[in-house]
Symmetry: C2
Subunit: 560 residues, 2 copies
């Protein structure tokens, strides 16, 4: 089944129509946002679009070709209908969500095809090359970098190749703890099939419900538990990728010295070399203990030190996130205010006690610590990490705030839909650097964002957390908010902020993306990111495997 | 200083002249070998060669060019003398050691140059391209795959570029636990400099004394403690590589989603794209506890299960090696027989006790278990791993056999020199696969080697150990022995055995090399290892960064 179903999917935004963010039981969030953004949030700037409002040009692919595709993949597996074309033409970036609301789908795909096996993928590439049609591999459509939007000038058409039919776990090898998984499988499909065998992949990005294995691999994704389970590039043992020149099938071994890593050349290739069809992934037994806790530090720097120490002492948690002051205050304002009068009185007392010890949710840095695994291992890590955090000034808040975060971790994407309708520009971006540079980079990117957002004299809010940690450094994940610019200037306002942040990231030693990927949004910084010679090698590989340049043109590789 | 010094270095074999293997205090090894190989071992088939016995053609590089190189690098940093040319013309494979003893240096380099900084490397590449001279990057010269031997037909000459002058640790970042290290630094040079800051790289291959960081990176090396510290490709954060088209300088971040990994394209490139000049490496604090132990299992399969369990339960040792029956018996025969009568009586009693429990060094599988780190962590792992091994049938022999292995781990390379002189063909090869396939591959490669070695009706000995382990599989390291074929047929005998093993590795799901690399010895299997399209991508990168094909021609990439 396709993930995109008319009447079920919020095609102009995130997730399913039956899920939306409930602001009712959160009394503090609206006053907090009003105050910090200096806007009323009392009327809709945008309404959700109707499909019929989108101005959609006719499909450019002629009937003969469409008939050929139908013959290849079956009548049910090709579509030129409005819902499928529109929903497959953009991802979920702020720019995308904005344009959907502005009823602008400027570069629609001409058709959507759902191949049923690798053989059909091979044949689709052949037809596309023959007919000068661009192909865009499509997994869950959750790209926030423009990865699935056509940039295909000079083509006779664009097909979105939705891999939703390739959604099976083909083989579970319990001895080696690996599984062969088809690339179109979405997060929940993967976990459901693996869980039935007692295993998990351990990859849980925020987009989990609506992103696929192939997409994760193609964009070098990370999940919320990647600090423990590893990033997707660490989890992949081997993969198959169909290119216009043939299939790359890397050897299924745990490690090899047989030359440069073609595997790690395919990972991160964003569809520009070919289509990943399946991969052999490392899997883990389902943890018997899942233990999430909250801690608070007096400031961000103290929390950063604690994470660095735990990583470098080899006490690696499954998940550790540390919010800066703004994000800590935001998360506090975000908390549910349901519950009895007595519960709230107890919470107030707890806050007063914390304040007496010098901790507050207005000024402090909140940490989520997640440990998953077998009882003994989790206990060993919990004791060690909590002791270390205490020594470094952290205050342990117990399991309740950890559980709260864990249970509400998918909600914010829905809130964003509401905020944009209210006229709030809200987006995220992320980077990574080594520990010695982390606080410096943190400050510089934050300043760059705020300067840009407040250029016209308005207010803004820039929140940040450490999202994934390594022995030698960590990633920084920013969420930024500002009142939307006047009508017609919204995109420009966002581009300016994004550019300011990207320039600061490049200038101060970050990477242009830690886990969102490149797409076309980050492509202009690729030259500074990897350098001229590296870019030339990537171009050379592209030319070798896709000489007609039909695969996801315009992405990843900047024009010369 | 160069590692190669006339009168100090055993240029025709391993290590320094003042080190040789002492067979005196090992009463059991000679009878063991005589019996198992069916040969007397009582006379030298070869004598060590003298430099003057080597038939060396004159240097083909003309005086003008040499003068230019001398001007660039300084008079002391270029040499055409016999010792330097001969010693830089081959590595340390069995084929190399055999040919040196046969006084055959068939493809000598014309000159050796020691650049003093990256700028000189850049200039050397420019001159080489201009003058159609092939360049071979040279680290410690320990290649066993032909990696440093010229295969440069149609060139006007070949220069070995010895990176010995680039041997410094340039920067230690204690906060991020990284160090910037020049590529020519040999194992001891790296450790000495890092140890002074309280750190270690944790990379200790058998070649440690005579191999360099650049060589490790160029060949995707692993060290004996790689199970815990990671393979070299896991340790590298960033690197600089000079190619004929410019410098690749990958971004110094802990992780990135900015496209395909050019870093992991350079790692394993074996000098065919360019010369690695420096790298930012992950470093670790020196362990406060170093704990090596021995265990014995009733058979290889039982020991393999134990390793798989410890890896998959997350109890990862720094080092775990498991010898098969042949290697266990060989190692037992190899043990020192010095010490008092009472010590030997005690040992005999211990062996009788083990026998009564069903364990023997003739039939069992010996395991070395190494744990390095902080006291608490080592204790946690030791308790868990020993309990697990006991449950799976392992018998703990205490620290003494572990220490013995640790202390004698560099000796066997010297014994090999003696064995070859006695007319024993002795070589090693290695592969890796997933756990589900490990015992199968183990048996097939072993059979293929024995069949080949015993083709003429003689005896042979094929020993194997699991050398590096991962959650999803492990490597297999073979050492094979046979009486040398008659004069003039020695190389062919070895080629036949090597080919038989390589075919079995390919047929039964191994990799052509887990950590020795490709060079020219494994290049014929690269097509089967990585496939046609992957090879084409590697060729495309080569063509882009080295269009004149001056960089280590004939290595890694098989002819079309």
């Amino acid at each position: 089944m396709s993930d995109y179903v008319e009447g079920k999917t919020r095609w102009w935004g995130w997730g399913d129509l039956d899920q939306r963010f409930d602001v009712e039981n959160r009394e503090n969030i609206m006053p907090f946002l009003r105050q910090n953004l200096g806007m009323a949030l009392d009327r809709d700037r945008f309404t959700d679009p109707e499909l019929e409002e989108i101005d959609l040009p006719p499909c450019r692919i002629n009937a003969d070709i469409l008939a050929g595709l139908e013959k290849l993949c079956g009548r049910d597996n090709i579509s030129v209908d409005r819902f499928q074309r529109v929903s497959h033409s953009m991802g979920k970036s702020y720019r995308d969500l904005l344009r959907f609301r502005q009823r602008r789908v400027e570069r629609p795909v001409d058709a959507v095809v759902w191949p049923r096996d690798e053989g059909e993928v091979v044949e689709l590439l052949r037809i596309a090359e023959d007919k000068n049609i661009a192909l865009i591999p499509f997994g869950g459509g959750s790209s926030v970098t423009g990865g699935v939007e056509p940039l295909a000038e000079g083509r006779s058409g664009v097909i979105s190749m939705d891999l939703a039919r390739l959604n099976r776990v083909l083989r579970v090898d319990a001895t080696s703890q690996t599984a062969v998984i088809q690339a179109g499988a979405l997060g929940p499909e993967i976990e459901e099939q693996l869980n039935a065998h007692g295993y998990t992949l351990g990859h849980f990005p925020e987009s989990f419900d609506h992103s696929s294995l192939g997409g994760w691999l193609a964009t070098r994704a990370s999940g919320r538990q990647s600090t423990g389970y590893g990033d997707i590039e660490d989890m992949v043992l081997a993969l198959r990728m169909v290119t216009p020149r043939g299939v790359i099938d890397t050897r299924k071994v745990p490690s090899t010295a047989a030359g440069p890593s073609v595997l790690q050349l395919c990972v991160g290739s964003e569809g520009v070399f070919g289509v990943i069809t399946e991969a052999t992934m490392r899997i883990r037994p389902l943890p018997s203990v899942v233990d999430y806790r909250g801690l608070i530090f007096r400031n961000f720097a103290a929390g950063v030190s604690a994470i660095r120490e735990m990583m470098q002492q080899g006490m690696v948690p499954t998940c550790v996130r540390l919010s800066d002051r703004t994000e800590t205050a935001l998360a506090q304002a975000f908390r549910s205010t349901t519950g009895s009068k007595w519960k709230r009185k107890a919470e107030d007392a707890a806050l007063r006690f914390l304040a007496s010890r010098g901790y507050s949710f207005e000024d402090g840095a909140f940490m989520v610590l997640g440990l998953e695994g077998e009882r003994e291992e989790v206990e060993f890590l919990r004791v060690g990490i909590l002791r270390l955090c205490r020594e470094l000034g952290g205050f342990h808040l117990g399991t309740s705030p950890g559980r709260q975060w864990y249970n509400s971790r998918h909600e914010t994407a829905y809130f964003r839909e509401q905020l944009i309708n209210w006229g709030v520009m809200v987006d995220t971006l992320e980077t990574a650097t080594t520990w010695d540079n982390l606080l410096h980079l943190y400050g510089e990117v934050r300043s760059a964002l705020r300067s840009s957002l407040e250029e016209g004299g308005g207010k803004s809010m820039v929140a940040c957390h450490v999202s994934h940690s390594y022995r030698e450094g960590a990633s920084l994940y920013y969420t930024f908010f500002a009142p939307m610019a006047e009508e017609g200037k919204e995109e420009e306002q966002w581009e300016r902020a994004k550019r300011a942040a990207s320039e600061a990231i490049m200038e101060y030693g970050g990477t242009i993306s830690h886990h969102h990927g490149v797409g076309y949004e980050h492509a202009p910084w690729m030259r500074r990111e990897v350098g001229d010679i590296s870019l030339e090698t990537i171009r050379a590989v592209k030319k070798t495997v896709d000489p007609a340049e039909i695969m996801n043109p315009g992405k990843l590789i900047p024009p010369r």
